[in-house]
């Protein structure tokens, strides 16, 4: 037993090993010890001390992981009762370089841990641990099974702000899907399914809804809506419903049909989410009466779909957007005149459409920076006072500072680097080469469509981002 512990603590020999050395040592540890030792040995104790307490999760990550996993494998839920702190601690301090040698164990451990925490109504613990774990991982912009667990735990725990640290990192890369893994011997534990990815985008959008960041929510949800494939997942349909409502919240209109979608997909979306689209077109008429009538009609559908909250937000947004639109028409306007316009469609009745309520709403909007305006009272006596809204001039108010432009340029430069590498990857992919072969063989099957040899792919890659490609890109996608 002591010998085992000695072996485990021996690896890795130093903290700052190079990748090659680390690789060698981890493999040694796996073949020499972890894969051969019976599971119950790992869960034993040295004297009265747990093996875990002898290992440092930050240094002996691999060994720690195997011991932890073995404990959970044998002990089940009971083991988690005592060991969840260890898992949480491990997640916040593991060494991401060693994890890839025990991905399968890592995934099993994490999934059990999260399930346990959710089952015990403490998803917040999972949220905190997973957040650190994802940020620690070697590349947080690569999608992992943890992303989905994290997003779901955040939703369960209502931890919207905690979620942002992870969600704000755009997900770009994806591990190979489950489908590729099936049948192959090397199931490495990192694989995900398209349902996982779609769910993550949907949950992510819902989390952004929680903090009212409609723009990010819209982007994420759009990714789910236009996910590639020949079929449509139910997750996508759910996403589409929220997508329509989010579009209303963000731009005040139903998002245009995306060109990336197949006509079939568009038809299905349309049919299933018809209530949402009628709601949206009523929103766009800017006719409060019509809109509230439509809202009442669709309320049941929304309640069934669990989108009542979003619909409520839309009604708030309706009023806000109407008030914002006033700034294009008026320099000053009395609050009572705004109240008379009956922008309130929330149907709560009471004083929702009154002068005081309207003033409160406008005040809120000014405080949040939604409009640039000032309120002034005509007399100190509140009963006799007539409140006037003065909207600030449009042009001077929103002067763009050069900094935002600079930042944007930097972002696009970095993006174009990613695009170039993506392009190179595509250029040497099997599918593309096969396509080229077919094209040259058919000689007319695909006339002159990117006729090029793999040898000149580099030049092609270098040309990415030139005018032609940009045009093509824009042609192929809907501007939004």
């Amino acid at each position: 037993m002591e010998q085992l512990v000695a072996t485990l603590t021996h690896y890795p020999t130093a903290q700052n090993l190079s990748d090659v050395e680390l690789d060698q040592q981890c493999k040694e540890l796996l073949s020499g010890c972890l894969n051969n030792v019976p599971v119950h040995h790992l869960t034993g104790a040295v004297g009265d001390r747990d093996i875990l307490s002898l290992l440092d999760p930050g240094i002996n990550t691999l060994a720690y992981l195997f011991v932890l996993c073995a404990k959970l494998d044998l002990g089940g839920v009971a083991a988690l009762q005592t060991d969840w702190r260890n898992v949480a601690g491990f997640l916040t301090s593991y060494d991401p370089r060693q994890i890839k040698y025990g991905l399968k164990e890592f995934r099993r451990t994490v999934e059990r841990f999260v399930q346990f925490m959710e089952g015990n109504h403490k998803p917040i613990v999972a949220v905190k641990a997973l957040k650190k774990a994802i940020l620690r991982s070697s590349n947080p912009s690569t999608f992992s099974f943890m992303h989905l667990l994290f997003a779901r735990a955040c939703l369960k725990a209502n931890c919207f702000r905690d979620a942002l640290a992870v969600l704000d990192i755009d997900v770009f890369d994806f591990p190979l899907s489950k489908n590729y893994m099936e049948g192959s011997q090397d199931i490495r534990g990192s694989e995900v399914s398209y349902q996982d990815v779609l769910s993550y985008f949907l949950y992510g959008a819902m989390l952004y809804h929680g903090v009212k960041n409609w723009e990010r929510a819209f982007d994420l949800i759009q990714t789910a809506v236009i996910a590639p494939g020949s079929g449509l997942s139910k997750i996508q349909v759910e996403a589409y419903k929220k997508y329509v409502l989010t579009g209303l919240l963000l731009n005040g209109k139903v998002p245009p049909t995306l060109k990336s979608l197949s006509p079939n997909a568009v038809r299905i979306y349309r049919t299933i989410a018809r209530a949402y689209e009628t709601f949206g077109s009523a929103f766009m008429t800017r006719d409060a009466e019509l809109f509230s009538k439509e809202a009442a009609l669709t309320a049941d559908t929304f309640a069934q779909d669990g989108n009542s909250g979003l619909a409520q937000q839309c009604m708030e947004a309706f009023r806000h957007q109407q008030i914002i639109a006033l700034k294009d028409t008026y320099v000053t306007l009395g609050v009572d005149e705004i109240a008379q316009k009956k922008f309130d469609v929330s149907g709560r009745g009471g004083d929702a459409g009154s002068k005081e309520e309207t003033e409160r709403v406008i005040l809120g909007m000014i405080e949040r920076g939604q409009i640039k305006a000032t309120l002034s009272h005509s007399s100190p006596d509140p009963a006799a006072s007539k409140t006037t809204v003065s909207f600030a001039g449009d042009a001077t108010a929103d002067a763009v500072d050069g900094l935002a432009l600079e930042e944007q340029i930097m972002r696009i430069v970095s993006l174009s680097i990613q695009v170039k590498s993506m392009d190179r990857k595509m250029g040497i992919s099997n599918e593309y080469l096969q396509f080229l072969t077919r094209a040259s063989k058919g000689n007319g099957g695909f006339p002159s469509l990117m006729q090029m040899d793999p040898e000149i792919l580099d030049e092609y890659g270098g040309g990415w981002g030139d005018d032609d490609d940009m045009d093509e890109m824009q042609d192929n996608d809907e501007p939004w």
Partner: protein, 481 residues
């Protein structure tokens, strides 16, 4: 007294039925006005006035009945008498002359038969010219009887038997006339085009141009294309005179042209193309108030201009072609006047503006808000101080904003594409469930990259869509291990 109550009751019913009725007294003199026209349109116009003008209806109807008695158009005679009966049942003219009707009907039937017979024999003889003339006779006869559809058909049949360009021109002119009366304006356009391709000599053109321009003007007017309509009427040579009286009078050309120009042209264009147009001046002289209205608009005296238009509104509402467009035209003139008025100001009091346009301040404010919301007026209303303030624009920051927006859009699109491609290359495509009955081909192109990934479709057989609805149960049941 009894008469006027019946008439009033009738007008109320007409208005309730959604038709417009002109209560005011038009400025024109009925005899003088109708004297400008000849043929069918004269009666049509009389009937129109008889159906819509409170003041002139009985007189117009009596004139119409008198004129109709000289034709063979029994149907319209009946309509005219019936309308007069509703308005003035005691009038001696308000009785159907059954005898005349019967005689005329019999006469026309006989005539029809005769023409039909003649046409048949011509057809037997296979002489093209005779057949053409036979059809023409038939067309003329139907036209006289008031059967416009039959007339149109008969004239149309002439086409195959025309041997000279002149025949086609004659035929087209006849068709244009019938089409205008049927309100079938698309046909007018095609026939005008046909004549234009056939006129070769300058002389011919000279001869045809007035009528063609007037017809095209009517065509554009009917389509609501006021600018094109104005141009057509402005191009109409003064030689039109009374030559097209059975369709349109020179006075009409002046009014239509002037109104359409007012509604669609800038002040500069009004000066150069209308007031300084020597041809059109001849027309304008017939309607001096129109000329005055345009000069007022040009010299920025908008309220005077609008006042003249308002004074003559009743006349135009009783015009057979113009009545549908009067509201739209007047609104455009007014909108343009307001916009033009505001151009030199950066800030103007609503009070001053209300005076300039002779409108109550409140109504004007409402109108201005409407214009601003439609994007026609670049200004904002200051309700507290009663001001209309011009919008200040800052092109530089506008460009910055636009650039930023384009960049953001591009960035998002590119990211979205990258994610998509990465998902495809990782094999994360949504696969259609086998049991699903949404039914579609497997190779619909998704985007530019669909060629690249055709292969990976193979890997997905047997996957079904499932939806993890936020609970853990969908996660492979690993808890049972």
């Amino acid at each position: 007294m009894a008469t006027s109550t019946t008439a009033q009751a009738h007008w109320t019913i007409t208005e309730a039925g959604g038709q417009f009725v002109v209560h005011g007294i038009p400025r024109f003199d009925l005899e003088g006005y109708i004297g400008n026209y000849s043929g069918r349109t004269r009666i049509d116009r009389l009937l129109f006035i008889g159906h819509h003008s409170v003041a002139f209806a009985p007189e117009a109807l009596k004139l119409a009945i008198k004129a109709l008695k000289e034709t063979v158009d029994v149907r319209r005679y009946q309509i005219a008498v019936e309308q007069l009966q509703r308005l003035a049942p005691d009038d001696p003219d308000a009785v159907l002359d059954e005898e005349w009707m019967e005689i005329t009907t019999r006469k026309t039937a006989k005539e029809s038969e005769k023409i039909e017979q003649a046409l048949k024999s011509y057809k037997g003889n296979l002489i093209k010219e005779s057949i053409r003339m036979g059809h023409e006779d038939q067309g003329n006869h139907f036209y006289a009887c008031g059967d416009l559809i039959g007339a149109h058909k008969a004239y149309g049949k002439m086409r195959d038997f025309c041997t000279a360009p002149k025949h086609i021109v004659d035929m087209s002119l006849a068709l244009i006339k019938v089409s205008i009366e049927q309100n079938n304006f698309p046909a007018v356009n095609s026939h005008v085009a046909k004549i234009r391709t056939l006129t070769r000599t300058a002389e011919e053109e000279e001869q045809m141009k007035p009528r063609l321009c007037a017809a095209m003007g009517l065509f554009h007017l009917a389509n609501g294309a006021y600018r094109e309509s104005a141009r057509s009427f402005l191009e109409t040579p003064a030689s039109l005179g009374a030559t097209y009286n059975d369709v349109i009078s020179s006075n009409d050309v002046a009014v239509y042209g002037a109104l359409c120009s007012l509604a669609s042209m800038s002040r500069k264009e009004l000066k150069s193309e209308v007031l300084d147009n020597s041809e059109f001046r001849n027309f304008l002289e017939l309607e001096p108030h129109m000329r005055k209205a345009i000069s007022y608009f040009y010299s920025a005296k908008y309220s005077e201009c609008l006042k003249i238009l308002e004074e003559w509104k009743n006349d135009y509402l009783l015009d057979i072609h113009l009545h549908k467009h009067i509201d739209a035209l007047y609104e455009r003139v007014r909108t343009k006047a307001i916009v033009q008025y505001f151009i030199p100001f950066s800030c103007v009091t609503l009070k001053g503006m209300a005076e300039a346009f002779n409108t109550p301040e409140e109504k004007l404010a409402k109108e201005l808000v409407g214009l601003i919301e439609n994007g026609k007026l670049m200004a904002r209303v200051d309700t507290k101080n009663g001001l209309l303030v011009a919008k200040s624009t800052d092109p530089r920051s506008q460009v910055h904003r636009d650039a930023l927006l384009i960049a953001r859009t591009y960035e998002k699109q590119a990211r979205m594409k990258l994610v998509r491609m990465n998902m495809i290359s990782a094999g994360l495509e949504v696969k259609q469930a086998k049991t699903s009955n949404t039914g579609r081909g497997s190779s619909a192109p998704e985007g530019p990259e669909s060629e690249f990934v055709g292969v990976s479709h193979q890997a997905f057989l047997g996957m079904k869509n499932r939806f993890p609805s936020g609970n853990a149960s969908s996660f492979g049941g690993w808890g049972k291990q």
